[in-house]
Subunit: 627 residues, 2 copies
């Protein structure tokens, strides 16, 4: 194939029931790549300031990337982006699976959806054709039912479907988008935006073969990943992301009891090892990925869960397990299945229930509020009941469906101190008091607390002299996990740019370094092989920095400022048990680190706004028209 | 060879006649590489503020690099650095040839010279041994004589010698250092610093074979360069850098009559083509370089020049030719030979004489001042006579030996407007009114106006879609040569970092892109092959940015500030002839561009001082102790 990349974007206006196709100039792809980068470009260019995220004015974007659907493991991810109903700021969430590649095979890189339908609809996109179809009969169905029905209607079992269940339909502010019943664009409430547009699902099917510039190189890299991911016991393949439960518990930083504690006495019972011994029935994966980190589980009895929804990953286990002090994998798996059916983000759901539990334990709410549910920490059945109430906005569920920030405002009585969030988004299950770079990630992510907007465990030791995967970034000296000095901030800045790159190019961060095998050099060569562009690590990291600058601009336009770049009070207070007992983040050091960050990335130290010259340096000088 | 780089630095104290050897940790080499980067590290760390550049307190550093002396064409260069007696700020000048590689073969990466001898000495460095030898009998000799004498004394004709002639001995502020009588560390008066230390020469000879990590890759790159440099008529090989004379003249930007004009009616007579047809006798080169861009010339008659001193390059031809309106290549070649003998920088010498000519034409000086020399523009013999007077500081030569800035202060009568310099260093022979990025380069170079501190003709058109050699920097859209907007500044920032990298790694900028064949990708792979480091373009460009930050810091310490980042008034006035007649730089646009630059590189917009957080990001947080 000749040098270059030609892409196509599908434009849907649900208010006008209009479908158009657009072919952006190649420069757009090279500057923004796809995913969050491409999406934020269109959100800034085409959406006005201050719109209601659940109104037809919101723009919902599904965005793959220039490498999505090619052969390398991990190159399967796509972004859903819009103004977030949870935070009121930049909304973005990634998912793997097969849906993204299938959209590419159907001939499109991205879908930009404007307006709102007057009744439930779904999109059917197949081989360069698209249509808007009636979905009245699907509305109200949980995800599994809806998938069956759509596939039956289209008479094709291989159709890939991204969709919402009742959580999205009821506009739960942290409703997710699910594809293949297992792969989830989890954070920032993109499912609620879908619901607000009466868009039940997007079904895709394509048979186009993706052309690449250098097929041999593409195949070679794919083969290399297949041969070089880790297969030993305790690996991602063997135990999934749940392999982290026991090590984090031992280090005293497994979030427990709504982040009061760092160690959970029942950790073994919810570990990846325990899952493997008991309920694990298979290992799932994403398009072309040899790692197979996904879980399939089945439980028996009262909490029976069906295998079709996959199994819980680390975040889900910790949020419904240690954070709510529930030590039973069967119950956690059931909670996971419910969230997949209803399409609720498991992180926000678990953190919100832990918040409610702490309110309940401290008498801020009681049985009257919970319709009789005894919402104590450790009560698995109470937790499961509450998940359903959230999805359908029943009783207290209607309050909790707004997320912890809004719920605390509603409940009052000082409940904010139990609400663990940044910018309105609930904190993921990684403890910043044990890894301070993560605190920066939470405070500075444009989507609010988010573990996929920056690395969730910055490298704190160098495994062998300059043989670390991040040495090509010039990070050559060890940095302590509890450090908050300028060198930690620098590390964070570089890794955040890297993760912004991953989220723009649609690469799984369990395949790319520092967590996965694909080195920076191999990634650069892979992008070259797919596109024929003579690109470099320099240029690609600048794409990441550019994406970060655009997302920040989005938030500035919506009124966010330096005061929002902070952590909940709890993380400035000591952990109350375990091997890190007493550990806290020093608030002055943290403020200083945030200031260092602003200056390193070229944001005004007082306003937090990207300096215009810096924006010009990133090739996005046009953001001045947005701010 | 195993992964890694082990280097050695020779430390000489001439006051104490002491010699020591130091082995810096590998991190120093990876962060600073060599050349200007390594030198500025030691200058900042070991030299105090405000010292007299010609006192024993100045530190003189000869610095090769991690790749210097390996097989790739262009990897031959080394830096001489010190506080500049010409500018009072950061002094740095690079040269090619064989001397740098020979120092590596003798076992050393760099020489750090402190103090001053009590009488003339020279250094003799051979196979990991070094000695300080008497040079009383050499003092006063022109370079050619001194080289003969040293080689005879050491009984080895293959000894490589970097040295000074009478210009350095007489502390001419722009005296250069010459090696092999042809290769010159020209700018910022490093020869005067040598003279002030009574150091006549450094003779080196080594037989060590340099070890590299991946010999096959190193050889492969060297072979690739040999096979891919351009050999067609009009190439660097064919015509040398003088190939630029006619195209620049045609574009109306060949500096003429002390930068009043952009076109010289006798340009053909001083062109590379004319040289080839008349006086060219051979093509010289540097260690391992297949391009052979260097000239060898011989003239007959009155202005007879000996072949041993090589021949004039573009800068020399334009400074003694068009700038002084001398249209005779024989005279220019003689001027060149004199400068090589006396060790005077041909750029500063030519510009200084053009300044004196303009003063003379306007009656600010007359025959009494010049000892009867009729110093009109176009008078070649007057120019030759003046060169000798400068080298020996005779009469007006003693005034001009201080450089145009000091000379104008001495002469007064409004002569500053004829003094074309930035920060006290004379403007090279490239016309910023025809290529505005060059104006930024002159204004912002830490050494004062210098064409090797930044690219002298930023790319203004893209030769084919994204096939430009700078596309890997993300420069994907054409930028007009006369533009001064943010995209031009961005281009300049990136290319300046690249040139700072070249000056630190000792790569000739006629081999590296954008002027030469060695792509950024090949360069990165070459550094990997030599060192075994898993480096990247990202990391290497950060070395360049780091070097720029350190040089800036040096100047800040010496009292330079934003007012010094400017151009002489002449460039804000119109060119007075030729195809660019009337062209001028808009001073407001220029100021705006400088402000954009400060903010893009992370300098305080008011003070011009690198922001501490930015310094931390570059891994040079320690500069706060310097400022």
């Amino acid at each position: 194939m000749p040098h270059g990349y030609n892409g196509r974007i599908l434009r849907i206006n649900l208010s006008k029931m209009e479908i158009k196709t657009e072919e952006p100039e190649e420069l757009i792809y090279r500057k923004y790549l796809g995913g969050g980068g491409l999406a934020s470009y269109y959100l800034l260019k085409e959406m006005g300031k201050g719109i209601d995220p659940l109104s037809p004015e919101n723009i919902l974007i599904f965005s793959t990337s220039v490498i999505c659907g090619t052969l390398c493991g991990g190159a399967s991810r796509f972004t859903v982006a819009a103004k977030s109903p949870l935070t009121g700021g930049f909304g973005e969430a990634e998912a793997g699976g097969w849906w993204g590649p299938e959209l590419k095979f159907a001939g499109y890189d991205a879908i930009i959806i404007k307006g709102a339908a007057k009744h439930p609809v779904y999109l059917w996109i197949h081989d360069e054709k698209a249509e808007i179809r009636d979905a009245k009969s699907l509305w109200g169905m949980v995800s599994g039912e809806a998938q069956l029905a759509i596939r039956k209607e289209l008479a094709d079992d291989r159709v890939k479907i991204a969709m919402i269940g009742p959580g999205g339909e009821h506009l739960v502010k942290y409703a997710c988008v699910i594809n293949d019943l297992r792969h989830v664009n989890g954070r920032t409430g993109m499912g609620a935006v879908m619901g607000s547009k009466y868009l039940k699902a997007i079904a895709v099917r394509g048979t186009k073969k993706l052309e690449v510039y250098d097929q041999a190189m593409v195949k070679g890299t794919a083969r290399w990943v297949a041969e070089n991911y880790e297969k030993q016991p305790g690996s991602l393949h063997d135990l999934g992301t749940a392999r982290n439960i026991l090590p984090l518990n031992q280090r005293g930083i497994l979030p427990t009891r709504n982040f009061l504690k760092g160690q959970f006495e029942k950790a073994e019972g919810i570990s990846g090892e325990m899952m493997k011994e008991t309920i694990l029935t298979g290992r799932g994966t994403c398009y072309a990925c040899p790692i197979r980190c996904k879980r399939e589980v089945r439980t028996e009895g009262e909490d029976y869960v069906a295998q079709e929804y996959g199994g819980p990953e680390y975040e889900t286990i910790a949020s419904f397990g240690s954070l709510c002090e529930v030590g039973d994998l069967n119950v956690i798996s059931k909670a996971h299945e419910l969230c997949q059916k209803y399409t609720l983000d498991t992180i926000s759901t678990g953190v919100t229930i832990a918040f409610a539990m702490e309110c309940y334990e401290n008498g801020l709410i009681d049985g009257k509020d919970t319709d009789g549910i005894d919402l104590h920490f450790g009560d698995g059945q109470a937790m499961l009941a509450m998940i359903k109430k959230i999805a359908y906005r029943e009783g207290l569920g209607n309050v909790l469906a707004e997320g912890v920030k809004s719920a605390a405002l509603k409940i009052g009585k000082g409940s904010e101190k139990y609400a663990q969030h940044v910018k309105g988004q609930e904190i993921p299950l990684h403890e910043p008091r044990g890894k301070t770079g993560l605190g920066l990630a939470y405070a500075l992510s444009p989507t609010g607390a988010d573990h996929n907007e920056a690395p969730h465990d910055p490298i704190f030791e160098m495994p062998g002299k300059w043989l670390s995967s991040i040495a090509p970034l010039g990070i050559l000296e060890p940095i302590e996990s509890l450090d908050l000095g300028p060198q930690k901030v620098r590390l964070f800045v570089y890794l955040q740019q890297l993760f912004n790159l991953y989220n723009s190019i649609g690469l799984c961060n369990l395949v790319g370094i520092p967590f996965g095998p694909l080195s920076l050099d191999r990634l650069v060569n892979y992008v070259r092989a797919v596109t024929g562009w003579d690109t470099s690590l320099w240029e690609l990291l600048k794409v990441g920095e550019r994406a970060g600058g655009m997302a920040r601009t989005f938030n500035i336009r919506e009124g966010f400022g330096p005061a929002d770049d902070n952590l909940p009070e709890r993380f400035f207070s000591p952990l109350t048990n375990g091997s890190m007992e007493g550990a806290r983040i020093d608030p002055d050091e943290f403020k200083k680190a945030i200031q260092n960050y602003y200056q390193m990335v070229g944001w005004d130290p007082v306003t937090g706004i990207p300096i215009q010259s810096k924006a010009e340096e990133l090739g996005i000088g046009w953001i001045k028209d947005v701010i």
